[in-house]
């Protein structure tokens, strides 16, 4: 056994495509910036109840709306509530919606797309027809309708948004699986007699993962946008809960007198979207198999 370990140490260490991609990603300054922002954001979000400077509902009616100051870095709203605190709590909701709805989209989309792509034939044709038909539906109108009809529950929001975003995911996954299925290394695996589950887990999934990760990263900002959009129209998150979209909507109403109430939540949303998009773009460049060939 000892000789074997010694043997192994003698081997040159190979760089897997993942390691390669990581090296490329680290060279991309914007992507690294994006990743760092997101990590910081997630930490803040998790710790919000501990580190928020004021209580979420803590009012100070005498104070009213004041511009940013040492006591209130982002200023206060008309009820004298600390905006920084509210932005932190709003971020929890915005990020949660983004992550959970993306997960919903991911689960449905991957299952649907992978099945269609790997089974192929008539099953594939029917499954993708359904996706095409759903694509033709004006979903944004439907979501508004759903929110109106069933009230503005968070759960419904996750489901509704996830239900829209899974379509593209299904298409991407199917395309990936289809092209991988036709690769010679899959034929080689089949000619060796490997079982289907073995081929899927060892050969198909690891190779389809890259684009799925990229798309999932890019779906999060889209979902957050959608949530903020609905909240802005008054159809998303309901008070007393708050999200960045709600804060922007409230800020827009009083922006002539208190522009900071619009600007800070807006900045928070924009920077987050920026970070996620940069990370997504960076991941796409890093995981691009064309780039790794030479």
């Amino acid at each position: 056994m000892a000789t074997q370990t010694a043997n192994r140490d003698m081997h040159e260490k190979g760089t897997s495509l993942w390691a390669d991609a990581w090296v490329r990603l680290k060279k991309n300054k914007l992507a690294v910036f994006g990743l760092s922002v997101i990590i910081v954001l997630i930490i803040i979000t998790l710790l919000t109840p501990l580190i928020a400077p004021y209580g979420y509902e803590q009012q100070n009616l005498e104070l009213g709306a004041t511009p940013p100051s040492w006591a209130h870095w982002f200023g206060t709203d008309v009820f004298g509530r600390d905006l920084l605190t509210r932005v932190m709590y709003g971020g929890r909701v915005s990020l949660a919606v983004g992550l959970i709805a993306t997960t919903v989209a991911l689960v449905i989309g991957v299952a649907w797309g992978a099945t269609a792509g790997y089974v192929g034939g008539r099953t594939d044709a029917i499954m993708m027809r359904i996706v095409d038909a759903l694509y033709a539906l004006p979903f944004i109108i439907f979501i508004i309708l759903l929110m109106v009809v069933f009230g503005r529950s968070l759960l419904l929001l996750f489901l509704a948004i996830g239900a829209v975003e899974w379509l593209t995911m299904a298409r991407i996954v199917r395309g990936q699986v289809l092209s991988i299925r036709n690769q010679e290394y899959i034929e080689a695996a089949r000619s060796m007699g490997l079982s289907t589950p073995h081929i899927l887990s060892r050969h198909v999934v690891p190779n389809a993962l890259g684009p799925i990760i990229v798309y999932a990263t890019l779906t999060v900002p889209q979902v957050m946008l959608l949530e903020a959009f609905l909240s802005f129209l008054g159809l998303g998150i309901q008070p007393p809960q708050s999200s960045w979209g709600v804060l922007i909507s409230q800020g827009a109403e009083v922006m002539e007198d208190s522009p900071w109430l619009l600007i800070f939540p807006g900045l928070a949303l924009s920077i987050t979207l920026f970070a996620l998009n940069f990370l997504g773009d960076g991941l796409r460049d890093a995981l691009d198999p064309k780039a790794s060939k030479d």
């Binding site: 038909a133 109108i141 759903l146 109106v148 922007i248 909507s249 800020g251 920026f274």
Partner: protein, 315 residues
Amino acid sequence: MLRYIGLRLLQAIPVLFAVITATFFLIRQAPGGPFDAEKPVIPAVKRALEAKYNLDLPMWQQYLHYLGDLFKGDMGPSFKYPGWAVHDLILSGLPATAELALYALLVALLIGVAAGVSAALKPNTARDYVPMSLAMLGICMPTFLLGPLLVLIFGFWLQWLPISGWGDLPGDKILPSLTLGAAYAAYVARLTRGGMLEVMSQDYIRTARAKGLPERVVIVKHALRGGLIPVVAFLGPAFAGLLAGSFVVETIFQIPGLGRFYVQAAFNRDYTMILGTTIFLSTLIIVFNLISDLLATWMNPKLRNQLSTKAGGNT
């Protein structure tokens, strides 16, 4: 070709039908009806009103009634605005929305294509980074944030442009069109850049250069056609997005358009108005998707031929 279009339109009918049915039954699941207004209505009056609008009939009968009327082109009366028919309301809101969407689309295409092509011709230089960073900004600066910010800057602080209305004051169409078009200009720019980069690396561009064609001809005649196909295919989804964006923009700038009507109808539980608007907007979106699809297909000779052989049937 005509047959293909006909076929596609035929396929759109079940989709539309599903939209109508789903919307009809969904909206009736909503808690609270149109006459549960702020002021309590006398039960007898409420019953009379409900009878007038067939709301006392079993659900499936209401549904059939509605379908029958719809077939005759009648979307019924608005519940909230007595004396107004839904299609009149829609028609009154349509011009502003259509104009807004058109200007926004022009903004998106003109700025987007120019920026994208310019970036693709000099990749990884300042001419690429600057417009593409702006595009990223456009994508990360959603309509409902950009709108208020533009109002704040150009309306309140600089006082250059009016902040609300549509066609009432000179220049009041500029901010809404820019607001709505900006995000799509960004998407178009990114798509154009990607498409052009892909095409410019093709062998046939090298052939065109080897023929000694002026660079302008190489780009416009040989590259742009293929490079713009993704953009054209994006126009359908973009249009749906523009309509959704118009809800926000019309709310921000107080434009009396369809989008604002729709949002208000949704709040007021104006059943017939929601149904009518949903059907109308869905039809628009489906038609636009079809047009953008056809256009993208037609732009590719290989697919164009498949179209005509399929449409031509057993020739």
